[in-house]
Amino acid sequence: MTAIIPLRKPKMCNVIEYKDSKLVYRRYASLFFIACIDNDENELMTLEVIQRYVEIMDKVYGNVCELDIIFNFELAYHILDELIIDGVMQESSTSEVLKRISYQEQMEQSTGIQTVYA
């Protein structure tokens, strides 16, 4: 997978047939986002889901780059868990996801203080 995808040219299509599934990928500068989907799934929609994930990360991290994600991968996973469960999109509103993430980040902060003083 990591051998094939980076070699593909920008104009090529973002779907690769891989074993009995399909890989749908999207490249943002040096970052690749890859999703593995079933055969009967909508490839174009998968691209939109990736796009949505990246947009939200961009807002949460503020101009997301590779290092942001590496050094705070927890947050990246948390965002994904608010967007998708078990491969199914759970929320189609960007602002709703952002709201839920920021609440939970705040809760982490405040409970952090509580445990320190408790």
């Binding site: 090529m12 779907v15 174009l44 991968f73 078990d86 509103s93 809760m107 409970t111």
Partner: protein
Amino acid sequence: MTSLRSFIRSVRSTKTIAEERAAIRKESAKIRTSFRDPHLDESHRRKNIQKLLYLYILGEPTYFGQVECLKLLVSPSFSNKRLGYMAAMLILDENQEILTLLTNSLDNDLKSPNQYIAGLALSTLGNIASPELAKDLYANVESLLNTSSPYLRKKATIVAAKLVKKEPDLAEVFIEKIPSLLKERSHGTLLGTLQLMREIFLQDESSHDILRKLVPGVLAHLRFLATTGFSPEYDVKGVPDPFLYVSLLQTLRYLLEGDESNPNLEALDDLLTQICARLENSKGPGHAVLYEAVMTIFAVNSDSSLRVMGVGILSKFLSLKDNNTRYVALNTLLSVISHEPVAVQRHRAMIVGCLQDADVSIRRRALELTFAIMNQQNIRMLTKELVQFLAATSSSDDELKTYITTQLTLACYKYSPGIDWTFDTLIRMLEIAGNFFSDDIISSILALMMQNRDAELTKKAVRQLLNASKVAYSQFGLAIVTIWSLGEYGDLVLDSQKVTEASEVDVLNTFLELSTFDETSKRDQIRLYSLTAALKLSSRFKSSREVERLRKLIDSSKEDTNLEVQIRAIEYTEIFGEPRSIKKGLLERMPPPPRKEHEGAALFGRSTAQKSVSEPAKTGDLLLDLFDNDDSQADESKPAEKETTLDILSDIFGTTGDNEKTAAGKKVTGNTDILNLLSGSSPSAAPSAAVIPPTTRSIPMAEPPASLPTPIPAYNDSTISVGFVPGHVGNGEATLTGVVKNETSSSTVRGISILCAVTKHQELELSAITKNTLAPGAVATLGIKITGKEGSKVKLRIKVGYEIGGENVGQQFDFSGITERL
């Protein structure tokens, strides 16, 4: 203890892979040691889990931290609980027993008054639910479907779908909730509800009628989206919530596919027309919705004018610059060709144009589609394009080349405008892509030659072959077909100038000494064919000088390094000395084999699943059928197919078993044994003996191709798994292919042995396992044939033994996963 940040830094700052490994190993050891401390406090545990997750991202083993995750997620602190659940989702999976330890924590947290804590538990359950967890916790999820929090409701709907998937009996519980959920306005909850509907529809057949009654509710939401104005929260580039749009259409597609009596069809058709018209000129997400709408049109039996419009949209996609839309267009055209063959044909030029695309994904789709639209009228024109494609493609397309040669040969059988043309095409293909023919396709070509009754045409073809092979001698397929034709028809094509007995012997000599093939198996096969051709010609040549050269040719192989070739040469030398009358009968021309129907192969996806089951049986045994020997039919597993061409050699002797007995000077008892003797490595003879040790095979067994259908699982101990692929079942016999797979990620499993037993009234034949040492992820197969009373059940008791890490393991289990009866 160092922080996560400094651990990440230290890994990133390494300069070589060895340094990186060392840094990782050091930290991993530290984490393990720390986990052993019974008094580990929570903040340290948290840090350890964070590092463990980084190890997970790097692809390192993390199993030793599983229990620690569970300890962390019971923490009263939200941040620790959040991390604990996240880690659980990532490093546990549903196959682990440790999941049962999770039941209690999930149960507690699902009841939490804090919606975010309950949300964490829901996400976790949705991602890693096992059937056990589903049974234990469905009531919690059910009550969360009624909660007042939309945040939890939307998560609960998706989790409910997951639980139904894991435990289909739960469909009954959740189906009752759907009507009220479907009335929701929240897009999140609707997305989940639609997923729940689809999952229940898939898992529970009795639900179909109930769910179909809910179609008007789904249509209402779709109508709202199709007519609604701008909504900043959900719109994407001017398209109203494309995620919901697609989910609604997809659900309709699932529910109504093949439903002949759909009372809502007219309303749906109207809506689809409206959607297509509205989105026709949009971009990006609009295409995704349009694409889904087209798939829905063809799934739900829409009106024919709508279907033509669907094909029109796809052809528009095809003409766009964006390769993604072109890809899905080609893909969808392939699936709609059965509905609208004429409409698809109209876009032939565009499809063929895509063959030249720089992108392999597009080329693959275009190729498959090209074969799908092929018929008697256009075969000439399409073949021209395909042959051009074959000649032009680079080495990266090897897989495609084999696909083309196979499909085109089959198409020649099916749609040929004339045998003359077929021979021309096949020879042209052999010439430019002779190294990309599968063995069974070569057999088919040979069969075609034998079936042809027009002697002039045969002569012409053989001359063409001889000419072609002078230039393209490194094309394996061409070489095999040429040598074989020479053996069969060499005496027919003699003329006084160009083709003489001497020149034919020269050709054989060249092939025998050819060293252009890297693979020894190919080289040996060419030698075997050459020897047979030489022997056959020796009985028909008139010039004693050339006959003597042929004798020398065979004689020279007596010391070949390959045992098979050597044996053959020695046997042939014996036959050479026999009187002419015996030889004449023995070396007679082959009778034409009966015609067989072939089924095409698919490059990918959809059709492979069903077709690959029947394919090996249908194409593989074309030549096996020739000798009237029951055993040859038995082993229809892949290896047999791979080596059918070798059997042609045994065929030659099939009719003359008795002469052979004396000639070879060996103690043999009948036809079967002679076949064994002459085709020593041919697995077609294998089933006659119960177990043959793999070492006796001189030609390496072929890897089972990737397209092997998913076996019915019979056993899995996380080291190896055993499953069965049913072949033919019925008429008092069953053939199965046993599939053994190494399930570990890094250990080699050795000394695999499989013993099988059937019930008293059945008989069992086993072929040897293809490999008894398996690398991680590797697969070995074995053929199984069961005969017995018609109507009896297929039941197997299997004993499997293997060695891993110096330890011997033996296991016994039963298999009765096949529903068909003998």
